[in-house]
């Protein structure tokens, strides 16, 4: 089993190669990044996100640290995607660099270790899920559902995934559904507003989502739409698991919610919508009371 989304950004010599996630499933194309400006464009144009933006940040620090400090790069990344915690990533990288002596080995070592942690996290989550898991998910967690499926198989549990399409960028359809189907994993695709109906019909018995940010209290910020699912899961008594990394001891409401351009609300639709006003916050907040368990990357929760 494999997915290009497990490592959507690669360091190749003096260039970064970024999987253009906006083209999947129709094309598997990589964008070559050889300047910080290009890296920032890739980030702001949503060519990569989630784990991809972490990799892009680390590799940008490796390649461009002769001209920019790690802090400067993190600040520039944060300006493009303000909800994500690039400043904390900078702290991690600086800490690792102090240990190894150079940025390259620090970044590569961290990334290699991070993948092992993701596999271990999937194995821990597998223990928590039902023996016949009917797992609702939203957006995309960069191949970690494949790790989860494998972990469930190892302990003789069955899994079926129900994937929310995840408007407006359709990461659920284009990335998650695509990578699951490509690996012959049982997956069903739904519109984002079908969650309540399926929960009522008892077709979902657990929810697994990613998390762009998390707090030590257990609050989570993730792709917009996550909060609705969490509310409905609570209402129907369905456990909600969030895959988190490095929670911070901060007030979740102090984290800025990125509002994207209104035009992005109409992604993939044909027509002239310039006269239609729209609002598109890219993330939402899920308070801890709706989260059954934050499955932390370090295993601390």
């Amino acid at each position: 089993m494999d997915s290009p989304l497990l490592f959507p950004v690669k360091l190749e010599g003096s260039q970064i190669r970024v999987l253009d996630e906006t083209q999947i499933p129709f094309k598997e194309e990589y964008i070559t990044v050889d300047t910080l400006g290009k890296a920032l464009w890739v980030l702001s144009a949503m060519k990569t996100r989630s784990l991809g933006q972490v990799l892009l940040f680390f590799y940008s620090c490796v390649l461009f640290s002769d001209k920019f400090s790690i802090d400067q790069i993190s600040e520039k990344f944060k300006q493009k995607r303000p909800t994500f915690d690039f400043l904390f990533l900078a702290q991690i990288l600086k800490g690792q660099t102090q240990k190894t002596g150079d940025i390259r080995s620090a970044a590569l070592g961290f990334i290699s270790g991070f993948d092992k942690l993701r596999q271990a996290r999937a194995a821990r989550l597998a223990q928590m899920l039902p023996a016949q898991a009917s797992i609702l998910t939203i957006c995309n967690v960069n191949g970690e559902l494949i790790y989860l499926y494998q972990a469930l198989e190892r302990i003789s549990k069955k899994a079926k995934f129900i994937v929310c399409e995840t408007r407006p960028y359709l990461q659920g359809v284009r990335l998650t559904f695509w990578e699951l189907r490509k690996n012959n994993i049982d997956a069903r695709l739904i519109c984002d507003n079908q969650v309540a109906a399926l929960m009522k019909e008892k077709k979902i018995n657990c929810v697994v989502t990613g998390a762009d940010r998390a707090t030590t209290k257990g609050d989570v910020i993730n792709k917009v739409g996550t909060y609705s699912i969490a509310c409905l899961a609570k209402y129907f008594n369905i456990p909600f698991y969030s895959l988190t990394q490095y929670p911070r001891d901060i007030d979740v409401n102090s984290i800025p919610i990125e509002e994207r351009l209104k035009d992005e609300s109409f992604m993939f639709l044909e027509g002239d919508f310039s006269q239609v006003d729209a609002v598109y916050p890219a993330f939402d907040v899920t308070p801890a009371k709706f989260v059954t368990e934050c499955v932390e990357i370090t295993g601390s929760r």
């Binding site: 399409e165 408007r167 359809v173 069903r188 695709l189 739904i190 519109c191 109906a197 917009v224 639709l269």
Partner: protein, 154 residues
């Protein structure tokens, strides 16, 4: 429109009717038009109607509704239904819209929907605006098509 500009809004779910328009005019304030997947009834029907009636509105994908509730931006939910006879029968997503309202203590108004040709629009998440978003032709059974929903306990 930015999030901070939205206050005490009315969300419209389903195909607006003349009665729905009158309700919105009487209530006043900004109207939030949800996209209304799979058929995109919000985009193809409600937006046009509200423009014609000169009613202020802001459009959003269905996923944004949760955050609007969380931030206390919604004062009313208007659900346009297929039938209201001995109970409420709604289009896909109606249950979710109504339940989210209930969970957040926002009252829901049910009305009979206006005319919209749902049959000729997308039926599920495999396509968007008529364009296929999944690869291959073997995944018909993998898409859960939208179907009418009984809103019994709301």
């Amino acid at each position: 429109m930015k999030l901070e500009e939205i206050k005490n809004a009315t969300v419209v779910w389903g195909a607006l009717s003349e009665e729905g328009i009158t309700f919105l005019k009487n209530r006043g304030g900004v109207v939030v038009v949800a996209e209304g997947r799979p058929g995109l009834v919000g985009l193809y029907h409600n937006v046009e109607l509200l423009k014609k009636e000169n009613i202020e509105f802001v459009y959003c994908v269905d996923n944004v509704l949760g955050l609007l509730f969380y931030k206390g931006k919604i004062g009313k939910m208007l659900v346009m239904c297929k039938k209201i006879e001995l109970g409420v029968l709604g289009r896909p997503g109606s249950l979710q819209a109504a339940l989210l309202s209930k969970i957040h203590g926002v009252s829901v108004e049910f009305m009979v929907e206006g005319e919209f040709d749902f049959e000729s629009r997308d039926k599920g998440a495999a396509s968007l605006g008529g364009k296929m978003m999944v690869l291959g032709n073997d995944c018909g059974g993998c898409v859960v098509l939208g179907k009418d929903e009984v809103l019994g306990e709301i």
